[in-house]
Symmetry: C2
Subunit: 117 residues, 2 copies
């Protein structure tokens, strides 16, 4: 899967809810279920050009939302920082002997995991 | 400032970038700079009804984005979890004696602060 393709599916994870139902349907068929434009055209009984135009409009919208809100960029930065936190937690688990402090460390680990990033 | 008013300004922090320039201008005059509809009408030379309609459309858009993306809700949940992490860090700072572990704890505190939530 090339980078542009992967980036588009990431944008969809963040902003897909803002697309129209038709855009979502065609986007998912093309990007998530690997149908070709021709196959989508046949299955939905829309012209190939219609499928292409809807897909392009969906992609443009997703790119517009990222340009305005930058959620994917912010999310990726957040994931990096939390990876560092997880590494720190791992180091403390290996060094720390005090069970009281280890318990607090496990609470931190739990909250960080619950962020679901 | 009542809760609805506060919530609207919070929605604007998250989704304001998706409004039109005119919506942003009127929203900011009303919500952030405390102008009345009449004052905005005079200053921008638009009918009071025009100001009202633009403001209502802006508010509806912001509510639509939150309904679809839920960023404010997610953000508030994240802030709560990170407050718990910060409390844990505070407890460890008070109990821990090992300077090596304290150094790792400060790294965790730094990454958490850098999340800028």
């Amino acid at each position: 899967m090339d980078d542009d393709f992967l980036f588009m599916t990431l944008l969809y994870d963040f902003y897909g809810a803002l697309l129209t139902d038709k855009q979502k349907e065609i986007f998912e068929m093309y990007y998530l279920n690997d149908y070709s434009l021709g196959e989508i055209s046949e299955l939905l009984d829309i012209s190939r050009q219609g499928v292409y135009d809807t897909l392009k409009r969906a992609e443009s919208s997703l790119e517009f939302f990222e340009e305005k809100l930058g959620l994917v960029k912010k999310h990726q930065e957040m994931v990096k920082k939390l990876e560092k936190v997880k590494n720190c937690i791992k180091m403390i688990r290996e060094k720390e002997k005090d069970p009281q402090i280890l318990k607090i460390i496990e609470e931190i680990a739990h909250e960080i995991d619950e962020l679901n990033l």
